[in-house]
Symmetry: C3
């Protein structure tokens, strides 16, 4: 059910895009108990003037190589699960994708389970 | 009021993009009673490595030709209306846009009516 | 905390993109009391067939040169603050970015403060 939008710098290679995609998904599987096949992601490569991030916020310094991760998902995960998710995404994107952990910016948008169709025009979670 | 993001494969022709756009909008008009002129859509064409979808989830098989439809809209539609919307979108995108119905992935993000401005800096739904 | 998606016509120059980006951020700082360094934006340039807007809705006429502004932010701002935000964004994007105020379409998606990580895998607003 998560639908993930990932925005990355235009120069990101196919290998690095795949690494980021994998890292985000594995974090969802591990921290949010998402089924491995529940994977839906739209990735955008953006020019330098299309990813805007302040150089520093809340004591975290940012380079120009930013990864925005926006996850639309079901409500109800605990704060501990969310903290575990953020940590796993940032660590994975850093280790596999070659980004700085500080440059991984995440937000969640929670929406009801009946608000999803996974193909065929069916509300699979609200039958 | 719906604001619709549609993500499609890079090779999608202008004609197919228009067909998908029309199909989604007509489904909103029919199933959600959206006024015909209440149409706001941002469409993205994405490279093969930028649309990620598992080959199968919940028994629905997916090809590489995926259409992601994310609809930000007002809260309060019934489950029956949502089911009718998903069915109408999937059928329309398949019939008009040449996608497989199974490849049409939809989610709704509901947000309050005061959270919208339709131009001129006015909160038209919260005057 | 706001994460802002801005969609603009493909022909928008780097100068105009920067002007729109600045205008939206300054409006958030002024009307929503967002810290000046709390700035996270993903901007998309879109082809003519990728920005769809009806010619007129609610008495507001739209040209083909549309700016979609979608702001994911914390809940809790008052209606007056939201009205002030819309007015400030539309005025700023018009004055600085060269758009018509009528062509600035805005929506807010509110999400909890614990739903954010601003780098380093930390839930900075939910420690």
């Amino acid at each position: 059910m998560p639908f993930v939008r990932i925005d990355l710098p235009a120069a990101t290679s196919s290998e690095a895009v795949a690494a980021v995609s994998d890292a985000v998904h594995q974090a969802l599987v591990q921290a949010f108990n998402v089924p491995p096949d529940d994977r839906f992601q739209a990735i955008g490569r953006r020019a330098a003037d299309e990813i805007i991030c302040a150089p520093e916020y809340l004591g975290v310094r940012h380079s120009a190589r930013i990864a925005f991760i926006q996850i639309t998902c079901a409500p109800g995960r605990s704060l501990d699960m969310k903290k575990a998710l953020y940590a796993a995404i940032a660590a994975g994107v850093a280790q596999r994708g070659g980004f700085e952990s500080a440059d991984v910016i995440i937000n969640l948008v929670e929406t009801a389970r009946e608000n999803w169709s996974f193909g065929g025009g069916i509300a699979q979670y609200a039958l």
